[in-house]
C-alpha cells in the first residue's frame, strides 16, 4: 500500500501548528541580563515616584479639629453633654477658633471625619433603596424591604428616603468666619456646598421623583421623613437644585464609607477672596452640634485641607513607594551577588564537564 501525501486517511488529524501544539512561541527566560536592569529601573522609578509623592504630600497643609466634645476639649463639650441620651438631641452650637499665620494655600476643602462609625456594616449598608433614590415613584410609595425597620413610619407611611443610612444622615453644620483684622468683625466665608458629590451620583444615581404640579413637596406627599429627621427630605435645602434626593450632603452621606473611620467632603472654599486659599488671620467655625457620636466612642473632626494633583495629604503612599523602590534596588544587588557567585560556579561546572 502506498500512501501519497494527497491520499490522506479519513481519520488523519490535521497537521497544523495549532493541532500539533507547535505554535510559534516565545519562552521567556528571565536571565540576569533582563532581571537586573528590570529591578534597578523599577527601583529607581519607584523612588522617583515616591519622592514626588512625598513632597507633594508634604506640600499639602491640613488643619484638623476634634469637636466631639469630650470633657475638657473645648466648648463643644457642653453640647456633647447636653445631647447625652436624648434623641433627637437638642440643637446646640459651639465654635472652633483658629488662626492662620500665613496663607492656607487653596483650593481649600472642608471635611468632616467620623471614627468608629460602621457605615460598612452590612445591615447598615444594605438598608437603602436605590430605586427610591433614583426617583421611581413606585419605589417612593413602596420602599424596599431592605430598608426595614425604616421602611414605614409608625403611622404606616412609607419613609422617604428609607433605610438606616438615610436615617442617620450627618446633620452637623458648619459655617466659617474670618476675622481679617485682630478684633475685627468675623466675616462669613462662603462655603461652596455644591460639587462635593460625585458627578454621576448627583446627576444620575440620585434623582428626585417627578414633580407634582411643579412642587417637590407634593411629589413627596404621602411619605414620611426618616424618624431622625427633623424635616422632610424636600426641605433639606432651600436651593431647589440641592434639595430632595439630590441634596449633595445627602448624596455624599449616602455614598457609604469603606472603613469605620472616614472623611466626607463638606464644602469647598473657592469663592470670592478665598479662591487662592484662606488668607492669614483668625477664623471661627460655628458648629451646629447635632450628631451624637459619643455613645459609640466615635469622634467627629473638622478638617481643612488643601489638595494637590494627588489628592489630599497622603504621606503613606509616597513613603510606600520609597520603600518599595529601595527594596527593589536592594534585591537587585542581592541578585547581582547571587548571579556573580553562582554563575561562576556554573561556569566552572561546565568547564569541568
Amino acid at each position: 500500500m502506498t500512501w501519497s501525501a494527497a491520499a490522506r486517511g479519513a481519520h488523519q488529524p490535521d497537521n497544523t501548528a495549532f493541532t500539533q501544539q507547535r505554535l510559534p512561541a516565545w519562552q521567556p527566560l528571565l536571565s540576569a541580563g533582563i532581571a537586573l536592569p528590570l529591578f534597578f529601573c523599577a527601583g529607581l522609578a519607584f523612588i522617583g515616584l515616591g519622592l514626588g509623592l512625598y513632597y507633594s504630600s508634604n506640600g499639602i497643609t491640613e488643619l484638623e479639629y476634634d469637636y466631639t466634645g469630650n470633657p475638657g476639649t473645648g466648648n463643644c463639650s457642653v453640647c456633647a453633654e447636653a445631647g447625652q441620651g436624648r434623641a433627637p438631641p437638642p440643637t446646640c452650637s459651639c465654635a472652633w477658633y483658629f488662626s492662620l499665620p500665613e496663607l492656607f494655600q487653596g483650593p481649600v476643602y472642608l471635611y468632616y471625619e467620623l471614627t468608629n462609625f460602621y457605615q460598612n456594616n452590612r445591615r447598615y449598608g444594605v438598608s437603602r433603596d436605590d430605586e427610591q433614590l433614583s426617583g421611581l415613584p413606585s419605589a417612593l410609595r413602596q420602599p424596599a424591604n431592605e430598608c426595614a425597620p425604616y421602611q414605614f413610619s409608625a403611622a404606616g407611611l412609607p419613609i422617604a428616603p428609607c433605610g438606616a443610612i438615610a436615617n442617620s444622615l450627618f446633620n452637623d453644620s458648619f459655617s466659617l468666619w474670618h476675622q481679617r483684622q485682630p478684633d475685627g468683625p468675623y466675616v462669613e466665608v462662603q462655603l461652596d456646598r455644591t460639587g462635593i458629590a460625585w458627578w454621576t451620583d448627583y446627576h444620575v444615581k440620585f434623582r428626585n421623583p417627578p414633580l407634582v404640579n411643579g412642587s417637590l413637596a407634593l411629589a413627596f406627599q404621602g411619605t414620611a421623613p426618616p424618624p431622625n429627621w427633623p424635616r422632610p427630605v424636600y426641605e433639606l435645602s432651600s436651593d431647589p437644585n440641592n434639595t430632595g434626593f439630590t441634596n449633595q450632603d445627602f448624596v455624599v452621606w449616602m455614598r457609604t464609607a469603606a472603613l469605620p473611620t472616614f472623611r466626607k467632603l463638606y464644602a469647598r472654599i473657592r469663592q470670592g477672596n478665598y479662591t487662592a486659599g484662606l488668607p492669614r488671620g483668625a477664623y471661627r467655625v460655628n458648629i451646629t452640634y447635632n450628631y451624637p457620636v459619643r455613645s459609640f466612642d466615635g469622634h467627629k473632626r473638622l478638617i481643612f485641607s488643601s489638595i494637590s494633583w494627588m489628592g489630599g495629604k497622603n504621606p503613606f503612599l509616597g513613603i510606600a513607594y520609597l520603600v518599595v523602590g529601595s527594596l527593589c534596588i536592594l534585591t537587585g544587588f542581592v541578585m547581582l551577588v547571587v548571579y556573580i557567585r553562582y554563575q561562576d560556579q556554573n561556569d566552572e561546572d561546565e568547564d569541568e564537564q
Binding site: 500512501w3 486517511g9 488523519q12 488529524p13 493541532t19 500539533q20 501544539q21 507547535r22 510559534p24 516565545w26 519562552q27 521567556p28 523599577a42 491640613e62 471635611y111 460602621y118 457605615q119 460598612n120 456594616n121 452590612r122 445591615r123 447598615y124 438598608s127 436605590d130 430605586e131 433614590l133 433614583s134 426595614a148 425597620p149 425604616y150 442617620s168 460625585w198 458627578w199 454621576t200 455614598r255 457609604t256 464609607a257 469603606a258 472603613l259 472616614f262 472623611r263 466626607k264 459609640f296 478638617i303 485641607s305 489638595i307 489628592g311 489630599g312 495629604k313 497622603n314 503613606f316 503612599l317 518599595v324 527594596l327 527593589c328 534585591t331 541578585m335 547571587v338 553562582y342 561546572d349
Partner: protein, 1495 residues
C-alpha cells in the same frame, strides 16, 4: 497467542482428556482476597448461576416468553432479554431529570445548590443571588451538554448495531431481519464473514461434520481461526430448512454469565439429552470464516450474551490529582467553616457593642445575639463560598477535554496503514498519564504484530539468512519460476535457492520436504478470484510461515486428506501417505509426522524445540555443533527457533509400532499418556536436518520505546497468556530482558520470599530487609506464570494446599521432560549463585532491629503479597506468562494496592479487558480487528510505540498543565477572595462583601478564565522533542513534584500574601487620604482592591507561563477586554435604571480610575505583589541551578552505569533456548479424524459421534470425565509431591530449613540442589523417572541410567518403556531397580561402551565430552570458557565449578557403588578438560566438600 486457559474448543474432541475449560472450572477461581477487585462478585455470580435454570426452546417464542422474572414489586418482566442493546443512558424525556440528578450527586454541586438556597434567605444573603447562580448554571449546562453529546453518540452506535441485518427462521424460511428482532430460541442463518448476533448454539453448518470456523478477534484479539462444531445429533438431523423449522429441541443450561470460554448445558430433544459445551457455542461478536453457511439457535441474546456480560460496569476512574482536588475542596470547605465560625465569634463580641451603642445601625427583630450570630455564620459561609472554586471544576473539565483532543489530534500518533489516530476515550485521566510508574503490557498484538516471518534457516549446518537488500537489489522476483510462490515473502537467499533448485543435496531436500509435510495447516478452498493461489489456514502463524517458506522454495503443500498429503516438489507432484500424526503439545514441544513416501519407504519428520530434538538425535557431529551455534546466534537475534529432524523407519519397526499405537489409541483410560509414550518411542534416533528461525515481528519501535520508558523510570511488565518460552523470547527481543540480568524464576522467588518471611519473622523491617537484600548492581528480572502467582498469593489463604501444589501445573505435567529438568538445573544453579549474592545481606538484616511494629498487625497474606510486590518491583522487568485475564488484573491490582503508584495497562484483546479496567489507565491497541479492549479502554492507540509519546509528551504536558493550573487556581482564588475575610475585621464582622456582586460572579467566569485555560491547554515547559529526548523529565510526575501538599501550601501562602498586600496597602492609603472626592468610600475601595487583585493575578500568570504564543497574548487581552466590557455593562446607567439594586456600582470604575493617585495605588499593589515573588524565584533558581543537573543525571547514571557482576554475565549461563512455537493442541486430531476434511467418509465421523454421545443420564462432559479426572488429579498430586519433595525439602520448606539459610549449610544445600537438578537434567528421555527419587542417594543410579540409555537403539528402549505404564499406574519401582535391570540388559553400543562399563579413562574423555555436550546443552558455556581462558577471573571458575563437578560423576557412575563420593572423580577430569583453569583459586576445594558433607 493469548493462550488463556479455558479456551478449550479443541479439547472437546477428546472426551478422555479434560480440556482446559474443564480444568479451569475445577480450579479455584482466582484469589478471592482482593476484595476490592470484585472477584468475589464473580464468584458469587457463579455460585448463584450454577444451576441449570435457563431453558430455551427452539422455534417457540411462546414457550420462551412464558418465563418471567420478578421485577420491581409485583411487576413481572420477561426473563429472556431481546437482542436489543441500549448502552445509552438517557432518552428524550429522562435526560433533564436524570442528568440533573446525576450532577447533583456530586458533593460540590450539592454544596453550591445548598448555598444558593441559603442565599435566597434575605436574612443571611450576603451576596447577590447571581454571584453563585450564574457560575453554577454554567457548570451544569456545560456538563449536561457534554453528557448529551456522548449519549447521542451512544444512541447512534446502538442504533447501528441493533439494525444490523441477519437471517432469522420465520415460519418455514429464513428472512432478513434486524438484530434487534432476534429473540431467544430463534434459529439464525449465518453466512461467511457475517458477525454472530447473539450467543448461539451451532446447529449445523455446510462444512463437514458441521464444523464452523470463527475468528474471535473482536473477543480476544486473536486472528487465528478457531473451530466450533455442532452437536452430532443436530448435525445429522437438521439437514434442511424444513427440518430446522420443525426443530423443537430444548436447551437447558446455566444462567447467563461472564465466563467467556465456559459453557455447560444440554440439549433435550426427542426425549434424549445431549451435552453441550463451549465448543458448540458461537459467541456474539465472533466472525464466521471459511464456512459458507451455518445455523444456530439463539441461547442468550442482548445483554445476556457473554460478551455483554463481560463488558461489565466500568467503574469511574479518577486520577490522583482528582482525588487530591476533591480532598482539597473538602479541606477548603472545612477551613471555610472554621473561618466562618471564627468570624462569627468576632461578630458575637462586636455585636454587643454595636447593638447597644451604635444607634445608627438598623435594629432588627432578632431576639438574641446568639440567633443573630447563627445567621451571620451562614452569611459568612455564603460570602466565603466563592473560595470553594466552583469555576475550577468547570475549567478543569475544559482542560481535560482539550488535552484529550490534542491527543486525538496528534499526527505523530496517527497510524497511517490503519488510518487510526490516537483517541482519548476517557477525558478525565490525562494528568495521570504524566505519573505512570508501571506499565502492564500484553504481548501478542501489543508488543508484537502477531506476524511470523521466516527469517533464517540452518540446513545441515549452513546458515542461510536473507540476502542483503543493497548487495543484490533483486531485479526480479526470484520465485518467478515457481507459480505457487507467495509474492509477499521477503526471504530471499540466492545461495539457498540455488541449492534447492539444484536438488543435489539430500539434506536440503528433506529440510523443505519436512516443512511441507510436517504441519497441521489446511488448504482453504480455492479462492474464486485467484484460483492458482493457495490460501493456507493454519492454527498457528508459525506454521503458516514455515509452510509458506517451503512453498516459496518450491515445496508446495497442495492438499491434504485425512491420510495423505500432496506436495508439489519442484514441480513434481508427490503424494505422501500419512501414517501417523503426533501432535504438538506444550510438554512434548514437538510434532512429528510419519509418512510413507511415493516410493514406499517410511519417514518420520519431526520439528520441535531444540532441547527436545537434540536429545533424540542419532549422532552428534559437526553438523549438530554448527547447528547449535546457529541456534545460539538465532537466539541472540531473538528469533524463534525450531529444530527439524527426520529419520527413515523400517517397515518392520513401523508395523510393530503401529500395533502399539493402535492399542494405545483405543485405550479408554489414560490414553493421552499411553499415546505419548508410543510417540516417544518413535521419535528417537533422529537425524538433524537443521533449524528454522522465525521472527515474531515486534511492532515498530517497541524496543526503543521500552528503553525510553525505562529511562523515564517507568517499569514495564509483560503480562501474557502466552507460553513462557515465547514470552521470554519476546522479553529479550524488546530488550526488557538482557543477558546480564539475573532472571528470577518461581523457585527463587519462593525462596526469597520465604527468606523474607523468615527474617521478617512476624516483626517487621522486612521491607528494609528486601531493600538490602538486593545490591543495586544486580539487575534482576522476574519470570513467573499465572499458576504460580495464584499459589503464591493464595497459599497462605488456603493453607495446606499451597506448598504441596506443584509450581508448574500443566495438564500433562507428570511426564515432564528433560528440557524442563534442564531449566530446573539452571534455576538451581542461579539460585545458589544468588544465595551467595544475597546471603550476606539477608543474614545481616535478618537480625535487624525489630522496630516499626506498625505493619506487624497485618495479616500474613497481606504481608506475603506485599513481599512479593516489593520483590517484583525491585526487578528491572517482570514477565508473567500464562496469565488468565483475571490474573492479569490481579497483578495490576496488587501493584496498585501495595505500591500506591499509577499503573497503566495496555493490551489489544478481550483477555486484557479486565486488566485495562483495573489499571489506573487502560490503553487499548486498535489492531486490525478486535474492539473489545478498545471499547473498555481509556485511551486508544494504534501502535505500542505511541505510548512513548502519549506518556512522555502528552502525559507529561497534561500533568504539568493540570498541576500548574491547580496551583495557580488556588493562588488566584485565595489572592482575590481572602480579602473578604480581612475586610470582615473592619466591617464589624457583619459579613459585608467587599467586592461588587458582578465582579465576584464574573471574576472566575470571564476575567481570569482565559489565562487559566491557556495554562491548562497550551502550557509547555519543554518541547515535545525535548520531552522525548530527556525521558528523565518524566520522573517529576511520578514523584508528584508539581502538585503536592507542599505546593498547595505554597500557593495558599502566596495567595494570602497577595490578598494581604492588596487589602492593607489600599486600606492604609485610603485611611490617610482626603481628596477632591473621597476615595475612602466603599465602592471605590472595592474597585481598587478588586482591580489590584485582578492585575496581580494576571501579572502572576504572565510570569508563570513559560510558553508565550499569540493565543496567550490574546487570552490576556481578551480578559482585560472582558473586564472593561462587563464593567461598562454592569456599571452603566441603563443597567442601573433597570435594577438599581442589582447594578449599584454605577460608574464606580470610571470615577475611581480617573484619579491618578488611585492608579498609583494599584500600581504599588501590583508591584509589591509581583516583584518580591519574581526576585525570590530568580534567586531561588540561581541557587538551585546546579542541583537540577544532578537530579537529571542521577537516575540515568544509575541505569546506565550499573555494571553487571561478572559472574552474572552471559558466559556463566548456558545457551538460552529460543524455542517458541505458538501452536495449540488438537489440530492433528482434527485432521487425522478427518472431521475437517471434505473427502472424509462418513464412517469416521459416525464413529466419532458414537464416541461422543454419552449415555443419557449424564448431563455434562465434566461429569462423565470426573472419575478419570479425579484419578488423574491424584496422580498429579502424587507427582507433585515427589517433585516438591526434592525441590522444596531444601528450598521451600518454611521455617525449619530457611532459618538455617543464614548459616553455612545453606550454601551447601544450594549446592546440593545443584546436584539434584543436574541429575534431573542428565536423565534424558525418560519422562518420569528422575522425578521419583526423593533422597539424594539414587543420584548416581539415575545418572548411570541416563548415560546408559542415551545411545540405545530403540528396540531396547521399547522394552523399557513398555514397563513404564505399569509402573506409572501402580507404584513407581525403585529407581534403583529399574536402573540396574536396564544397565544389565543393555547391549553396549560401540562408542559408549567404555563409558558404561568402566570408569572413564582419560583418553576417552573426548568421547565423553561430546556425549555430555549434546545431552546437557550446556556446552557453549564451557566452550567459551575454553576459548577465553583469560576470562577465568576469580568469580568465573567459582561459578563453573559446580557444573564441572556435576558433569563428572558419570564416569564413575557405572563402576561405583552408591556410596562413592561424588567429587572423587571430577578432579582429575576437570584438570584436563579445562587446562586453563589451573589457576583456579584454592577456595574451590574448600567449597567442594560441602555437598559431600551434607550427604
Amino acid at each position: 497467542m493469548g493462550d488463556t486457559p479455558g479456551r478449550g474448543g479443541a479439547q472437546r474432541r477428546r472426551p478422555h482428556n479434560p480440556g482446559r475449560s474443564e480444568k479451569y472450572e475445577l480450579r479455584p477461581e482466582g484469589p478471592t482476597g482482593m476484595g476490592s477487585l470484585a472477584y468475589r462478585e464473580d464468584l458469587e455470580e457463579e455460585e448463584k448461576n450454577s444451576g441449570f435454570t435457563w431453558e430455551v426452546k427452539a422455534n417457540s417464542r411462546a414457550y420462551n416468553n412464558q418465563f418471567k422474572e420478578k421485577g420491581f414489586l409485583c411487576w413481572q418482566r420477561r426473563k429472556y432479554k431481546t437482542n436489543v442493546i441500549h448502552t445509552a443512558k438517557y432518552n428524550v424525556f429522562s435526560f433533564v431529570p436524570l442528568n440533573l440528578y446525576e450532577q447533583f450527586r456530586q458533593v460540590s454541586n450539592l454544596y453550591f445548590l445548598l448555598i444558593i438556597v441559603l442565599q435566597s434567605i434575605p436574612e443571611i444573603s450576603t451576596l447577590p443571588w447571581f454571584t453563585l447562580f450564574v457560575p453554577l448554571v454554567c457548570l451544569l449546562v456545560i456538563r449536561a451538554t457534554r453528557e448529551l453529546v456522548d449519549d447521542i453518540g451512544r444512541h447512534r452506535s446502538d442504533r447501528i448495531i441493533n439494525n444490523r441485518p441477519c437471517q432469522i427462521l420465520v415460519g418455514r424460511s429464513f428472512q432478513w431481519r434486524k438484530w434487534k428482532h432476534l429473540c431467544v430460541g430463534d434459529v439464525v442463518c449465518l453466512r461467511r464473514d457475517s458477525i454472530v448476533p447473539a450467543d448461539l448454539l451451532l446447529l449445523a453448518s455446510t462444512e463437514p461434520s458441521s464444523l464452523c470456523y470463527v475468528e474471535t478477534a473482536d473477543i480476544d484479539g486473536e486472528t487465528n481461526l478457531k473451530f466450533r462444531q455442532a452437536p452430532m445429533i443436530t448435525h445429522r438431523e437438521l439437514t434442511s430448512v424444513r427440518n430446522m423449522a420443525s426443530f423443537q429441541g430444548k436447551v437447558v443450561c446455566e444462567e447467563p454469565n461472564s465466563r467467556m470460554h465456559h459453557f455447560v448445558g444440554c440439549l433435550e430433544w426427542t426425549g434424549k439429552k445431549y451435552p453441550l459445551d463451549s465448543g458448540n457455542i458461537l459467541l456474539r461478536g465472533c466472525k464466521i470464516r471459511n464456512t459458507d453457511t451455518c445455523y444456530g439457535l439463539v441461547i442468550y441474546a442482548g445483554f445476556d450474551t457473554k460478551i455483554m456480560k463481560n463488558c461489565g460496569t466500568t467503574h469511574l476512574k479518577r486520577t490522583k490529582i482528582d482525588h487530591m482536588m476533591n480532598r482539597l475542596v473538602v479541606l477548603i470547605f472545612l477551613s471555610l467553616i472554621v473561618i466562618s465560625a471564627g468570624l462569627t465569634l468576632g461578630f458575637w463580641y462586636k455585636a454587643k457593642e454595636l447593638k447597644g451603642k451604635h444607634h445608627y445601625l438598623p435594629t432588627n427583630d432578632m431576639p438574641s445575639v446568639a440567633a443573630e450570630s447563627f445567621l451571620i455564620f451562614w452569611g459568612f459561609l455564603i460570602l466565603l463560598s466563592v473560595i470553594v472554586p466552583m469555576a475550577m471544576f468547570i475549567i478543569a473539565e475544559f482542560i481535560y477535554l482539550g488535552n484529550s483532543i490534542f491527543i486525538n489530534w496528534d499526527v505523530q500518533m496517527y497510524y497511517e496503514p490503519h488510518d487510526t489516530p490516537a483517541k482519548a476515550r476517557s477525558t478525565s485521566l490525562n494528568d495521570q498519564l504524566g505519573q505512570v510508574e508501571y506499565i502492564f503490557s500484553d504481548k501478542t498484538g501489543t508488543l508484537t504484530q502477531n506476524i511470523m516471518t521466516f527469517k533464517k534457516c540452518c540446513i545441515n549446518g549452513v546458515i542461510y539468512g536473507p540476502d542483503e537488500e543493497r548487495k543484490t537489489p533483486h531485479k526480479e522476483n526470484p520465485y518467478l519460476w515457481n507459480t505457487f510462490a507467495n509474492g509477499k515473502s521477503f526471504f530471499h537467499n540466492a545461495g539457498l535457492l540455488q541449492a534447492v533448485r539444484g536438488n543435489q543435496d539430500a539434506m536440503v531436500r528433506e529440510f523443505w520436504r519436512l516443512l511441507a509435510v510436517c504441519h497441521t495447516v489446511m488448504v482453504q478452498d480455492k479462492n474464486s478470484e485467484r484460483p492458482d493461489q493457495l490460501v493456507y489456514q493454519a492454527a498457528s502463524p508459525d506454521e503458516e510461515a514455515l509452510v509458506t517458506a517451503a512453498r516459496n522454495f518450491g515445496y508446495v503443500f497442495l492438499a491434504r486428506t485425512q491420510d495423505s498429503i500432496t506436495v508439489l516438489e519442484l514441480g513434481e507432484e508427490r503424494k505422501y501417505q500419512v501414517l501417523a500424526m503426533m501432535d504438538f503439545n506444550s510438554v512434548r514441544k514437538r510434532m512429528s509426522v510419519l509418512v510413507r513416501n511415493p516410493e514406499g519407504s517410511i519417514y518420520l519428520y519431526t520439528k520441535g524445540a531444540d532441547t527436545v530434538i537434540f536429545e533424540r538425535l542419532h549422532v552428534t557431529g559437526e553438523v549438530e555443533w554448527t547447528t547449535e551455534e546457529a541456534l545460539a546466534s538465532f537466539a541472540e537475534q531473538t528469533l524463534r527457533t525450531l529444530c527439524l529432524a527426520y529419520k527413515e523407519v523400517d517397515e518392520d519397526a513401523y508395523q510393530e509400532w503401529r500395533q502399539r499405537h493402535q492399542e494405545a489409541s483405543i485405550l479408554l483410560q489414560n490414553r493421552a499418556h499411553a499415546l505419548h509414550q508410543v510417540y516417544e518411542e518413535m521419535e528417537q534416533n533422529l537425524q538433524l536436518l537443521g533449524a528454522t528461525a522465525i521472527e515474531d515481528r515486534l511492532q515498530d519501535g517497541v524496543p526503543e520505546t521500552i528503553q525510553c520508558l525505562k529511562q523515564g523510570n517507568i517499569k514495564v511488565w509483560v503480562l501474557t497468556g502466552d507460553k513462557q518460552e515465547t514470552a521470554v523470547n519476546i522479553g529479550f527481543a524488546c530488550r526488557l530482558l538482557s543477558e546480564d540480568m539475573l532472571i528470577l524464576e518461581e523457585k527463587e522467588i519462593i525462596r526469597i520470599l520465604e527468606a523474607y518471611w523468615e527474617s521478617n519473622n512476624n516483626l517487621l523491617g522486612g521491607e528494609q530487609c528486601l531493600k538490602n537484600a538486593f545490591l543495586p548492581q544486580v539487575k534482576m528480572a522476574m519470570v513467573i506464570n499465572g499458576e504460580f502467582l495464584d499459589q503464591l498469593l493464595l497459599s497462605l489463604r488456603k493453607e495446606p494446599r499451597a506448598l504441596v501444589h506443584s509450581v508448574n501445573t500443566d495438564v500433562e505435567e507428570p511426564w515432564q521432560e528433560p528440557g524442563e529438568q534442564r531449566t530446573d538445573f539452571l534455576q538451581a544453579r542461579r539460585l545458589s549463585l544468588m544465595w551467595r549474592t544475597l546471603g550476606m545481606p539477608l543474614r545481616s538484616t535478618g537480625l535487624a532491629p525489630q522496630a516499626k511494629t506498625a505493619r506487624a498487625r497485618e495479616s500474613p497474606e497481606v504481608r506475603r503479597e506485599r513481599a512479593f510486590v516489593d520483590l517484583a518491583s525491585r526487578c528491572q522487568a517482570v514477565i508473567c506468562c500464562r496469565a488468565t485475564p483475571k490474573q492479569k488484573a490481579l497483578i495490576v491490582a496488587l501493584v496498585k494496592k501495595y505500591q500506591h503508584v499509577v499503573t497503566l495497562a495496555i493490551g489489544d484483546g478481550a483477555n486484557d479487558v479486565n486488566m485495562i479496567k483495573t489499571a489506573d489507565i487502560g490503553v487499548g491497541l486498535a489492531g486490525k480487528e478486535g474492539m473489545q479492549a478498545v471499547q473498555n479502554s481509556d485511551f486508544v492507540l494504534a501502535q505500542f510505540c505511541f505510548l512513548q509519546r502519549l506518556l512522555l509528551v502528552h502525559g507529561r504536558w497534561s500533568y504539568l498543565r493540570v498541576c500548574k493550573f491547580l496551583r495557580y487556581f488556588i493562588y488566584k482564588t485565595l489572592a482575590s477572595m481572602m480579602v473578604q475575610v480581612w475586610f470582615a475585621f473592619y466591617s464589624g464582622f457583619s459579613a459585608q462583601p467587599l467586592y461588587e456582586g458582578w465582579f465576584l460572579a464574573l471574576f472566575n467566569l470571564l476575567y481570569t478564565t482565559l489565562p487559566v485555560l491557556y495554562i491548562g491547554l497550551f502550557e509547555q515547559d519543554v518541547s515535545a522533542e525535548r520531552s522525548l529526548e530527556l525521558p528523565e523529565l518524566y520522573i517529576a510526575g511520578q514523584k508528584d513534584e508539581f502538585f503536592n501538599y507542599g505546593v498547595i501550601l505554597q500557593a495558599i501562602a502566596h495567595g494570602m500574601a497577595t490578598s494581604l498586600v492588596n487589602f492593607f496597602m489600599t486600606l492604609w492609603i485610603c485611611q490617610d487620604s482626603g481628596g477632591p472626592v473621597i476615595s475612602g468610600d466603599y465602592q471605590s475601595f472595592a474597585v481598587v482592591v478588586a482591580l489590584s487583585s485582578l492585575l496581580s493575578i494576571t501579572v502572576e500568570v504572565i510570569l508563570i507561563i513559560k510558553y508565550w504564543t499569540v493565543l496567550f497574548v490574546l487570552a490576556i487581552v481578551l480578559s482585560f477586554c472582558f473586564y472593561v466590557v462587563m464593567t461598562a455593562l454592569t456599571q452603566n446607567f441603563w443597567s442601573f435604571q433597570m435594577s438599581p439594586k442589582t447594578f449599584s456600582f454605577l460608574y464606580a470604575d470610571r470615577n475611581v480610575l480617573s484619579q491618578p493617585p488611585i492608579l498609583l495605588v494599584i500600581l504599588l499593589n501590583v508591584s509589591l505583589n509581583t516583584l518580591p515573588v519574581l526576585a525570590f524565584r530568580l534567586i531561588h533558581r540561581a541557587l538551585k541551578k546546579p542541583r537540577p543537573k544532578e537530579e537529571v543525571e542521577a537516575p540515568s547514571e544509575e541505569i546506565i552505569t550499573v555494571e553487571p557482576m561478572p559472574y552474572l554475565r552471559r558466559e556463566s549461563r548456558t545457551r538460552r533456548s529460543s524455542y517458541a512455537f505458538s501452536h495449540r493442541e488438537g489440530y492433528a486430531d482434527l485432521i487425522t479424524q478427518g472431521t475437517s476434511l471434505r473427502k472424509t467418509p462418513g464412517v469416521n465421523s459416525d464413529m466419532l459421534a458414537d464416541q461422543k454421545i454419552p449415555s443419557d443420564e449424564e448431563l455434562s462432559l465434566s461429569i462423565k470425565e470426573s472419575p478419570w479426572f479425579s484419578r488423574k488429579m491424584s496422580f498429579l498430586g502424587r507427582k507433585r509431591r515427589q517433585h516438591r519433595g526434592k525441590v522444596s525439602s531444601e528450598d521451600t520448606q518454611p521455617a525449619t530449613t530457611m532459618s538455617s539459610s543464614f548459616t553455612a549449610d545453606v550454601q551447601s544445600s544450594s549446592y546440593l540442589d545443584n546436584q539434584v537438578s543436574l541429575t534431573r537434567n542428565v536423565a534424558p528421555s525418560t519422562n518420569w523417572k528422575p522425578r521419583s527419587f526423593q533422597e539424594n542417594l539414587p543420584i548416581k543410579q539415575e545418572r548411570s541410567l541416563s548415560y546408559g540409555q542415551w545411545p540405545y537403539s530403540h528396540p531396547k528402549s521399547l522394552t523399557l518403556t513398555r514397563k513404564r505404564p505399569l509402573s506409572l499406574q501402580e507404584m513407581p519401582p525403585s529407581p534403583r531397580e529399574s536402573q540396574l535391570s536396564l544397565s544389565e540388559s543393555q547391549p553396549t553400543p560401540l562408542g559408549q561402551l567404555s563409558l558404561e562399563s568402566q570408569p572413564a579413562p582419560l583418553e576417552e574423555k573426548k568421547a565423553f565430552w561430546s556425549v555430555s555436550r549434546s545431552s546437557w546443552k550446556i556446552w557453549p558455556f564451557w566452550q567459551k570458557e575454553l576459548k577465553s581462558p583469560k576470562e577465568g577471573t576469580a568469580p568465573l571458575p567459582n561459578e563453573t565449578h559446580p557444573t564441572l563437578v556435576e558433569t563428572t560423576p558419570p564416569s564413575t557412575g557405572e563402576s561405583s557403588t552408591d556410596e562413592q563420593p561424588m567429587e572423587v572423580a571430577p578432579l582429575p577430569l576437570e584438570g584436563q578438560l579445562v587446562p586453563s583453569e589451573s589457576q583456579v583459586p584454592p577456595d574451590l576445594g574448600g567449597q567442594l566438600p560441602l555437598p559431600h558433607k551434607e550427604q
